[in-house]
Structures are given as C-alpha cells and as structure tokens.
Symmetry: C2
C-alpha cells in the first residue's frame, strides 16, 4: 500500500470543528501546518476563531513550530473542497455512530488513495465505524487516533485500527502523530474505551456511585483527587506510584503484602484474581520502567515533581477570578 | 468532653515510623513540632534519618515553619515513654487489624484523657479498629486521619470517626490537620477505602484487569495517565474536568449527551442509573465549584495549569538519571 510521504505534508483537513476538532485545528496550526476545516454549522468559523485565540497563548508558551500561523485555516461546507490538496484527515464529528459511519465513508471515497484518515472517536471501534465503507482499499486507510481534551495541550493519542485497517496505515498514523509531537500509544487490538478512558471511566463511575449513595459530595470527590493522588499522576502513573509506595521492595512487596486486600470491597468493581502470572507481569513492567535508578533517586524525583506541580497550580489558582481552580 | 487546646501543642507522637509514619514525622518537624517516635524495629532510627534527609529539601522548598528542626525527634521502644508530654498522637502501624486493635487500645489507655489519637489506616474503619478498647471514654478519642504517600507533600487527609468516636474529637482532628496545613476532607460516615482510595482503586483494578487480559501493558497504562488525564487532575478533579469538557453547556450537557454511553461496557464496573436526582446533584456541585467564572476564564486557567504542570514535570524528567520519570 502506497501512503503519502509525511515529510511533504503542509496542509491537513479537520472534519468537524467542535471542542475536539477545533482543538486539533489549533494544534496543527501551532505545528506550522495549514488546516482546511469541514463543518456544516453556520457559526463554525466564529467558534473556531475564539477557540484558537484562547489556545494560542498556551501553545506559544510550549513553543510554536517555524512558520506557525494562527490564521492559516479556512472553513468549508463542501467536503470535497475541504479535502482538496490535504495530506492527512482528522475526523472529529459528534459521537453518533450513524453520522460517523456516513461521514467516514464519504471522506474515504473523496480523499486521494494515499491519504490516511484518523478518527477522534472516544466511543466506537473502527471496525464498527467502517461498516458503511464498501471498498476494502478505502476502509484500509481508516484508523482511530483518539486525543484528549484539550487536544492542543494533552500529548496522548491512542492509535488503533479496525479489522479492515491495513497494518501499514496504523504504523503510518502512529509515526505521523509522533512526528507532530504527540505521545502515541499504539494498541494491538480494539478495546471499548481504549486505555485511558477505561481507567478514567472506572474512577468516574465509582465517583457517581458515591454521589448516588450520599457517600461523598462532588466537591469532596474533586478535592480528593486534586489534593491527593492527582498530584502524583503527572510524573508517575498508577503502576509506578504503587511501585514507589512499596519502598525498596517495590511493586513485588505491594502485591505480596496488599494482594489480599484486593479482595476487600473497596470499590464496586471486583478485582481480578492476583495470579502469579499477573503479579510477575506487573512487577516486571515496573522494574523495566524504573531501570537503574535507585530508590532514593526515584523518591527525590517524585518529590521534586509534586512540589513543582503544587507550586505551578497554586500560582494559577491565585490568579483565577474567584479563587481555587 | 475536654480536649487539649491545640495552640499549646509543641510535641506530638508518631506510633510506627515506616513509609507513612516516617512521612508524618518529617511533616510535623517541618511544621516546627517536636516528635516522639515509637517503633520497635532495631533500624527504625536509621531508616527515619534517611527518610527525613530525603524529604527535607522538598519541605524546605515549600516553606518551613519558624523553628522547624530536622533533628527534633527521638525514637523510643517503650510506648508510655513515647507518649510522654505529647499533645497529639498519629498511629501509622502496618495494616494488620489485630495489631492495630491492640496498639490503639494501648495508646488510648496510656495517653492523657484530653488527647486525640489519629490513625493513618487506609484499610480499616475506626469502628473495627476500636473493638479492643473497653472504656468508651478512651474509644471516643480515636479517629481516622488518613494521609497519602508521601504524607509530607500530599496535602489530603481524610478524617472520619467510628461509631464510638465523639463528634467533638472528629471536629478537633479536622481543625488540627487544617491548622498544620493539610487539606482536610471530613467524612460523615465510614466507607471502605474512604474517598480517594476508592477512586484510585477503581482505576487500579481496571488497570489490573487490562494487564490480565493482555489489553494494555504496564507501560501503556502509566503513560495513558501521565500523558493524558493525569495532566488535568492537579487543577481539576474528574467532575470539573467533565464540566469543562462539556463546553458552555457544562456537566448538564455532558450528562444529557453522554449519559446513555454510561451504559456502554467501557469498564468492568457497572455504572449507576443516571437518575434525575443524580444528574441534578452532580450538575449543581459543578456549578457551585465554578461560581461566577466565565467559560473562557476557566479554559485559560486549565490551559495555564496544564502548561505549567507539563513544563515542571519535563524539567524534572531531564534531570532524572536514565530519562523519563
């Protein structure tokens, strides 16, 4: 399968310019690309202007690519016109399966045959969404590239193909997002919610249960994260956090010591059985991530990160009208 | 019930000086208090010295209280001796119910009758832990004050009493932790895992299921948080994050629009039914938290926080031996 040489791409298309699609537009502009936008809303250009203006100071602070121009975009109501001359398409239509199916089929038909088409969907698999595409060669170029809000600041993009996606397309998409500065997780198979949203959603569902049962208020739930575990997560994910909490013994100690408490009714989600294989997989993953760094080095890095994050966020809270974020 | 005037307290006791107990010692020292430590391990003083030395630079960066002295602690193997002359006790023994029951009964018997005794437990309720205390007046002074690792940097403390805890003791403990600079969540009733750990644990359990089923690696799970939602959580908890993701329509829009997807099999945890009451409670909580700030002000604050957090963490990653945190 011949795919466009990504180093030649200077213009991309964004299909749908709401919160997520508009965020992609701002990001592509900051990376020095021109953007052709398809959005049927009469106020699309006004909303997009406001979104880009709000986003630009943060993007400037993080560093713009050479030639980045916050005005290098046009809005079109004709799809073929929006796709004219672009080297990549990012679809960010509302999360409506029928709409996505139709739109992706239209894009796949209209776009040149060497163009990869990424979808921002958070809720559907590409296997489901490509159902309306008759031509296998067209379906082969469709891949999920799932961002996080706001897409212009959160690095993560989850990349996963459907059952008709060509492996080379998934590979190309992962390289493309990486080349424009995203942090890519390439998944081997489709899982509902992908990875980060599954984890977020488990937390969110437990939070809703707690509100439902009068166990915690909205304010308590948010503060329990912002003043608690949320301060650790920008540097260390949940696995490394527990690895470090285990002291010198690390995750192995945590699982061997607290493994039984996995069976406690701490959340409404039942825990998996802690088999030796699961234990060893988790321990090995943590040890690989930590590498040669000593326990003391890791503690100091974690502490420095928490202090820096607290100071950064406190500074912003002070400047926010009405106080705490 | 007569309780110690907290403004007169200059010395506290820490019972147990492992990772959590030792972290409390470092924190109390930084707040200008002297600490008497009970810990039966022969190497307790050495481990504590190392923990305090590691913690002190971060505590200094955040600001020490007047008179804070990193040497103002002593270790004792006799409990009565450790409690001599202290104005507050923080118990941080290992999470072993029988051990905690015995130890809390011993502390409650030995400590003066106007002293509050806080427990760092993450896994047990005070109702369970106070079972070995015969005297109701002694049981009345026992309360959970649950910190997060490292206790010297993470502000959150969850405060909740057992069924024999005096309401004035819970009140006193909440005021005390607040007075020494902690961010207190006072819970009205005992819930296994309290609040933050229930939320963390839901995420953690879903992560273990994903590893168990080969859906994600340890590395992917951690990166999905550190490069994704983890960057938003120091400023905004999960509720406000969704409120802002809803655009001008906020949480009401999110729940009305995405409510049905709550029923999707996105995690192994089933969602609660989104009743009108639950919807309204969550929406009202978000609106109250946001107050009069405009959507654009909130977007700019969120963006500034994400940029500051990314820059802070990137700086630390660069200095960490072996690269990424």
């Amino acid at each position: 399968m011949h795919l466009r040489d990504m180093t030649t791409i200077d213009t991309v298309a964004c299909v749908g310019a709401g919160t997520i699609g508009g965020g992609w537009v701002a990001y592509f502009l900051a990376r020095g690309l021109a953007v052709r936008v398809w959005d049927p809303s009469p106020d699309a250009a006004d909303r997009l202007r406001r979104l880009i203006d709000n986003a630009w100071p943060a993007l400037t602070e993080l560093g713009l690519a050479e030639g980045a121009d916050l005005d290098a975009w046009t809005v079109h109501t004709d799809l073929a016109e929006a796709l004219d001359g672009v080297g990549f398409v990012q679809e960010s239509a509302p999360e409506d399966l029928d709409m996505k199916r139709q739109l992706l089929a239209d894009i796949a038909r209209a776009a040149p045959s060497d163009i990869v088409i990424g979808s921002s969907t958070s809720g559907y698999s590409m296997t489901e969404m490509a159902a309306a595409v008759q031509d296998d060669a067209q379906a082969a170029r469709l891949v999920v590239g799932h961002p996080f809000n706001p897409p212009y600041l959160i690095p993560l993009v989850e990349v996963v193909g459907g059952d008709r996606t060509d492996g080379a397309v998934t590979e190309w998409a992962a390289s493309w997002y990486d080349a424009i500065g995203k942090s890519v997780i390439r998944m081997d198979r489709e899982v509902p919610g992908f990875i980060a949203n599954r984890l977020q959603e488990a937390l969110w569902r437990e939070a809703l249960h707690m509100v439902q049962n009068g166990e915690a208020t909205v304010e308590q739930i948010d503060r329990s994260i912002t003043e608690g575990p949320g301060l650790r997560w920008p540097l260390q994910g949940p696995m490394l956090t527990f690895h470090l909490a285990g002291g010198e013994g690390g995750m192995a100690h945590m699982l061997d010591h607290f493994g039984p408490s996995l069976l406690s009714p701490w959340t409404r989600l039942e825990a998996p059985e802690l088999t030796p294989r699961l234990r060893d997989t988790v321990v090995a993953g943590c040890e690989e991530a930590v590498g040669e760094r000593s326990f003391d080095e890791r503690v100091r890095a974690r502490d420095a990160a928490i202090v820096a994050v607290r100071e950064a966020v406190d500074d912003i809270r002070v400047t926010l009208p009405g106080g705490a974020g």
